[in-house]
């Protein structure tokens, strides 16, 4: 990396890359990517759990970044723009895993969590969604929310979540899933009991 490149911020390197000749552009790209390899590759290693998959994933990410640099407008930080691509490529990678016979093994029964379990109409289902959203926000702590969002919202395997969030406890993200489910189960039970007291005939 030249001194000139060191003095430029990410957005300036992108602008330089886009406006330069091929050789100068490559130098700017090298400088730009050199700043972000560690972060992106670390993320990929944590997401995949093995070197070969992480390499393929990281390579796909930087290829996509290179191809789309012209769409970087500099409104967001480059790392935020980069994260959007990393996130999207990681989700594509995870979706492809079941096809490779690598479906997450940690699937467990969900025993609770539907405040309107017998409801079939759309209104009640919408109500359930809203209530679960509120319960998650009120009942869970920060790490439980992150684990829940990644696992149930994005289908990220528990082992990947443990690595991504650098969870150091013995059973990793699984412990947070278990504790979160317990909290939600208690909250749903409380809700049902309250509803039953207010509406003993159970009509909805």
């Amino acid at each position: 990396m030249t001194r000139e490149h060191r003095d430029l911020d990410d957005a300036e390197l992108v602008a330089l890359y886009l406006a330069s000749s091929a050789s100068e552009g490559t130098a700017a790209l090298t400088a730009l990517f050199g700043r972000h390899y560690e972060k992106v590759v670390t993320w990929c290693v944590r997401m995949t759990g093995n070197r070969d998959d992480a390499y393929d994933l990281a390579q796909g990410i930087f290829l996509r970044v290179q191809r789309n640099l012209a769409s970087f407008r500099g409104q967001a930080k480059f790392t935020t723009w980069l994260y959007a691509i990393v996130r999207s490529e990681c989700m594509t990678f995870l979706k492809a895993r079941p096809a490779r016979g690598e479906r997450a093994q940690e699937e467990e029964a969900l025993e609770v969590l539907d405040p309107a379990a017998n409801a079939d109409d759309t209104l009640s289902r919408e109500r359930s969604v809203r209530m679960v959203r509120e319960l998650i926000d009120v009942e869970l702590d920060a790490v439980e929310k992150q684990v829940f969002t990644l696992h149930y919202g994005e289908d990220v395997p528990i082992a990947s979540i443990t690595r991504l969030l650098s969870l150091q406890n013995r059973s990793g993200a699984k412990a947070f899933i278990v504790s979160a489910r317990r909290k939600l189960a208690r909250a749903v039970a409380r809700l049902r009991a309250t509803e039953l007291r207010l509406n003993p005939l159970g009509d909805r």
């Binding site: 957005a11 300036e12 602008a15 886009l18 406006a19 091929a22 552009g25 490559t26 790209l29 090298t30 990517f33 390899y37 560690e38 972060k39 590759v41 670390t42 993320w43 990929c44 290693v45 944590r46 070197r51 992480a54 390499y55 393929d56 990281a58 390579q59 930087f62 290829l63 191809r67 789309n68 012209a70 769409s71 407008r73 967001a76 930080k77 935020t80 994260y83 959007a84 029964a109 969900l110 969590l113 539907d114 379990a117 359930s128 969604v129 679960v132 959203r133 998650i136 926000d137 869970l140 920060a142 929310k145 992150q146 829940f148 969002t149 990644l150 149930y152 919202g153 991504l164 969030l165």
Partner: protein, 237 residues
């Protein structure tokens, strides 16, 4: 697994998916700023809170002791690939792990190439070995020629570009290198003269960026140039 699991999983997925009120990544990035308007929503949205934390975790991601070796290995290989200019596609994984040395290595390599060729032909899937051209790869936007670009002896009096078929007007922006807007103009011509007060800001050694957008008769953008860059050379002593 109980029969209700798919239903409950769907419920959770919906409860944890983003809504119209959820913050964009750009808004999350600016959450620390005093005038952030999305705090109210984020404060009561588990998904946004999680997304914000995960974005922060990504930005500060550094390898743990057990990850360093893999991260360094991959980073080195990526750097080698991208430093060599035009980016070639990844080698198949089974080739990546092989090392070829000496005459035996040459014979082994030839054997592997023959075997791979037979394999791919049999599978009816010919690998695309043509390297991508780095300059073509990222030019996803339409391009039309525009000047000035590169180093200039004097500050350019105007910005010029080629006419775009169907364009009724052009919007041109002059920016500093951090994309702060210096000057804009709307014109139906294919040239925009830089006013004296703008020219005064185009000083030797300072890179300037500019971009022109062609618009149709209704004012909708139809094509945009790449960001152009120019600089007035520093004068010698």
């Amino acid at each position: 697994m109980t029969p209700t699991v798919p239903r409950q999983r769907r419920l959770l997925r919906k409860a944890l998916s983003s809504t119209r009120e959820c913050a964009t990544l750009l808004q999350l990035e600016r959450l620390g700023e005093p005038d952030a308007r999305v705090w109210e929503h984020v404060a009561s949205c588990a998904r946004c809170q999680a997304e914000w934390t995960i974005l922060s975790a990504f930005e500060s991601a550094t390898p743990l002791p057990g990850e360093e070796q893999d991260v360094n290995w991959i980073s080195r290989r990526l750097a080698e690939q991208f430093e060599s200019g035009p980016l070639a596609k990844a080698r198949p994984r089974f080739l990546r792990s092989l090392q070829f040395r000496g005459a035996f290595g040459f014979a082994s390599a030839a054997l592997v190439i023959v075997a791979a060729t037979v394999f791919f032909l049999r599978e009816g899937s010919v690998p695309d070995l043509k390297p991508l051209d780095a300059r073509d790869a990222y030019r996803s936007e339409p391009l039309f020629s525009a000047g000035p670009t590169g180093d200039q002896d004097t500050a350019p009096a105007d910005l010029r570009w080629a006419a775009v078929p169907g364009a009724a007007s052009y919007s041109v922006r002059l920016m500093e290198v951090d994309r702060a807007e210096v000057w804009t103009d709307e014109t139906s011509a294919t040239v925009a003269a830089l006013p004296p007060d703008v020219l005064a800001r185009v000083v030797p050694g300072k890179p300037m960026l500019w971009q022109v957008t062609a618009k149709d008769g209704k004012g909708f953008a139809i094509v945009q140039s790449q960001v152009q860059r120019f600089k007035v050379r520093n004068k010698g002593p």
